[in-house]
Symmetry: C2
Subunit: 342 residues, 2 copies
Amino acid sequence: MAVKLNFNSALVDLSMGAGGKAMNRLIDQLMRKAFANEYLAQNEDQAILPKLNGKLAFTTDSFVVSPYFFPGGDIGSLAVYGTVNDLCMSGAKALYISVGFILEEGLPLKDLKKIVYSMADAAKTAGVKIVTGDTKVVEKGKGDGIFINTSGVGVIDQNASVSHQKVQGGDKIIINGNIAEHGVAVMSKRANLDFMTDVVSDAIALNGLVEHLLSQNLNIKMMRDPTRGGIAATLNEWADKYHCSIVVDEATLPISQEVESACELLGLDPLFIANEGKLLIVCSNEDSQSILAHLRKHPLGGNAQIIAEISDTKTQGVQMKTAFGGMRRVDWLTGEQLPRIC
Amino acid sequence: MAVKLNFNSALVDLSMGAGGKAMNRLIDQLMRKAFANEYLAQNEDQAILPKLNGKLAFTTDSFVVSPYFFPGGDIGSLAVYGTVNDLCMSGAKALYISVGFILEEGLPLKDLKKIVYSMADAAKTAGVKIVTGDTKVVEKGKGDGIFINTSGVGVIDQNASVSHQKVQGGDKIIINGNIAEHGVAVMSKRANLDFMTDVVSDAIALNGLVEHLLSQNLNIKMMRDPTRGGIAATLNEWADKYHCSIVVDEATLPISQEVESACELLGLDPLFIANEGKLLIVCSNEDSQSILAHLRKHPLGGNAQIIAEISDTKTQGVQMKTAFGGMRRVDWLTGEQLPRIC
């Protein structure tokens, strides 16, 4: 008769990562139950999955967010959504997720259980399966509660994908809604200011929205979810990669009053703050209004806006037309404004 | 002109995980150079890979081994070989690897560089490509130098795979060589006893050996690499999963004199100690001699032995026929004999 783990009061200990009975007990009584599916039930060191009919998309992300519970989510749901979003930004249909836990000795099993079930719920929301996993435990003081790696596999349907057409002057950049909510939610919790603000993380799976857009045969040149480093990082990466100039129109940036206030309070620039439920879309000027209209009809795109334009000038980089009519350079994040935000 | 990182004396800092300029600099100057391949060069949050002609194998493992340099290897090569081996145990051809780094602030860039190039070499040895990655940094005291997650994707060729035939009484279990070398190498280094022993880790990619065996149309019922928890863990998992009894013959266990001595010194039981270049094969009695012969002709199987038999008895579990002719139960590892061995 297997010993039942006490998920109310027990703590993670080193034996739970040692490959023996204690580890198998934890996995049997928690992960296998929460994530249950036919592939995980193979109960091997690898999952064997059906042949895919198309190119493969493959991605990985480790999550070290602190604190691991924050307004609007937790490290578990974030780890699932983050990887699903990285897959779907390529136009791939997200299918399978792997999970690697690095637990710190002393982590309450109660917290671990909550996080694992949050991952299971997020996977259900996103329509993906968690098919293989690994659990390690490090000594107290050698980790920070919990780190999670998720990797993901998806398939690309050539009939509904991004076009990868050449970026050119006049192209528009669209965002599906308000910026900076994830980062501000985490930072306000970390600074114990969450009582002063109602900002919750925007972390959510974007694959439903993306699949909807692609099924409409809209001509999307490319997409990216502006997470760490915020929209400033994504726009600068694009400017570097495509040797173009991008001009952001500050007046069009969708941002809530709460987030603006919290940013002032915390001394943060919303352009550099991570989003976990937003995507940036590049498309031609001609296609921009119809993409915008489709976005706005979707629950995750109600506040979509055209926020920037690829400029014809030869100067490479990102600039912002400010609300006062001036222009200022938007550089990469150079310092460490927001460590451990995801 | 991009600032050149000083890989001789600089340390990892938080900005290198913040999604901004410093992170991109590190990735450009180190990971992209070391791992260079056409898929990584896509330079996106996901790799797009060719369509696979067969079922997919997918696996993940996080590596937290301490110390991260040990006799015979390091956390980098271990992370590549471990995931390649998990893929090939299913009969899959290992193809693509993802890597997620969790770095602790203060890690010498010199050490990181050595580990990254060790991964690149290991990938070359194993014939796989590192196609996508992620880098996070946690504050000093919230990690332990470096943790690495690798996930892997492989394809199953139906013409050269494991048979998954039913395990039955009389079946043999074969190992490809000496046991307990990885765990003893790490533990002796950790206990500062490495000056007393020449034991080096057996960590190596097994996919070449496995592909060789499968190409010979040998009837292999199943395979597993006995890593954490040692061969005791793998045999107990099999006994549980297939409701069978397994009898190990102690006299046949291949083990070097150095490893035996080190185990005595460190108070370790070699049956519970991790291997990182060994596999256990289950096959029928009739097929066992020909599989053994093929193993022994391969560089990674010179000391292969038949070490155990599936017994006809109805008692479930693992027993060992000792060198003195008695029988003793071989249970799972119950405690934490070997934390952070991989």
